[in-house]
Amino acid sequence: MSKSVDETVFDYFSLLLQESSSSDLGLKPETNPELTLPKVSNEAHYAVTRSLLNAAHSSSKLALEPQTSAPKVSTESATTRVFAEPRTQVDKFALEKLLSAVSKPSVPIPSEPIPNAEIALTQQIKASAERVRQAITHIAPKTAQQTSTDHIGAQKKPRTGKEIKSLVDIKNNECSLAGIKDVIIKHDPLLASVVAQEQYPEPQTQTGFIPPSITHDLQAVLDDEFQVLFFKVAGLTLAVPLVSLGGIIKIEKINHLIGRPSWFMGVQTHRDSHINVVDTCAWVMPEKYSPELAQTLDYQYLVMLEDSQWGLTCESLVNAVKIEKSHVNWREKLGKRPWLAGVVKQQMCGILHVQALIKMLDAGLGCQDSIDRG
């Protein structure tokens, strides 16, 4: 035997605690695939394993189950096994003290700094282990029963050495690290998604990644300080950035076109062109729109959207003011209203995403329809 079991156990926990890259540990589990622990050591090992795994929130408990079920444990005792309560903090010195009876003082405790990526992985593994532990607690009787039946097979085919190897290798090379992640991922779909992101890394993911704003195209064309026009419709104030304003036209005769949505008021001719007139109230607030409300509306102007043929009706023009980008709560996520770029904090009014609005109107969509439908 190239190394004692006690040393191996110590190294194992040392590695679980992520204290070192431990390339110099000299573990050679492959040299002893038939490794079986002495009974006393095993029991100490299992007890320590359980308590420390819980304490360290370390690797997957499922992967360790076969270790905790020694061949001599009966089926009855296995079914009544109780898992130790997790400890929230891990004390390295307490671990040393705990392991002093079974470890050799000559084993160095590595003190190399942990790379950031490994810290992140450690946290994920800990979180995963905690979730797996909780899941196991819920299905403990069943799992234990299954485990006890596995003991028969385990007697024929000891797996302890191999599993220790795989866990030890977590610090030694990337391949093994990926392997243990796979084991954990099998039991933790949440972590699977995280790891999937890691495989296709985005630099911000690990540091509070904020998805790019879906209004970035609008924000890109706006200066830090930009002008908006406020206009009113049925008591609602809306803002349109001046860069997206195609013009303001007085409402004259609107020609009704048959077979169009209720929000489509018709067509107004203007300088040999046709303006498609949108009943802004009906489009923006369909849930509040009623014949009674329609009677009270007194549309005066058309707010033209960029160079499109679409014009939004409005009752009054409030003013055009300069606001700062930071004064707008820009919408960050996709939602029901892609036409709404954000909310102007001071005036507490919606600011229009004109390009999205044009896209929706061209597709004949209502304000809450998905833009993909178009």
């Binding site: 005769k253 020609n255 009704h256 076109l257 048959i258 077979g259 169009r260 949505p261 489509f264 067509v267 107004q268 001719t269 040999d272 062109s273 046709h274 498609n276 043929q309 109107l361 061209d362 597709a363 004949g364």
Partner: protein
């Protein structure tokens, strides 16, 4: 040189053909129908209702010995009904190889429009009546809505009319 220019001008004029449209009014909007489909325009006469006829059929009239079905155009266009008056007309048209009459508020004139002067109607709306409009045109700062009479009724409805 001048010959080729003339040929090009003729070709361009062929592409940009002039069409005549009969203009009528309906609910204060101006509509146009292709003059080639219009047979005649009648003052309002009594329309005999037909029991069991579809809702869009006002009834039938006797036109010099021929029975002609009259369509309720306002109803077909989703417009509110209106009182009949002196300007009410029945336009006799031919569409889908059938002769029918459409009731309109008034008939104004016949106008000439180049094909290039006709724009597409805004392509919004999924209602059946949306496809009745084949285009719009600006004329004297007024919007002219051009109606595709062949699409005024569906295939089944055209068949249904023959059975009245």
């Amino acid at each position: 040189m001048s010959n080729s220019r003339n040929v090009a001008a003729v070709a361009a004029s062929k592409d940009d053909a002039v069409l005549q449209w009969v203009i009528f009014k309906l609910d204060n909007e101006t509509y146009g129908i292709n003059v080639m489909q219009v047979q005649e325009i009648l003052r309002y006469t009594d329309i005999a209702p037909v029991p069991g006829a579809p809702s869009y059929v006002l009834g039938i009239i006797n036109l010099r010995g021929n029975v002609v079905t009259v369509i309720d155009t306002r109803s077909r266009f989703g417009l509110p009904s209106a009182e009949l008056d002196d300007s009410t007309r029945i336009v006799i048209i031919e569409a889908e190889k059938q002769v029918i009459g459409i009731l309109v508020d008034s008939v104004a004139e016949v106008v000439y429009l180049r094909r290039s002067e006709i724009d597409n109607a805004p392509n919004v709306g999924t209602e059946e009546s949306a496809k009745y409009i084949q285009g719009v045109s600006n004329r004297d700062n007024e919007l002219l809505i051009l109606v595709d009479l062949d699409k005024l009724l569906s295939d089944d409805e055209w068949v249904e009319l023959t059975q009245i």
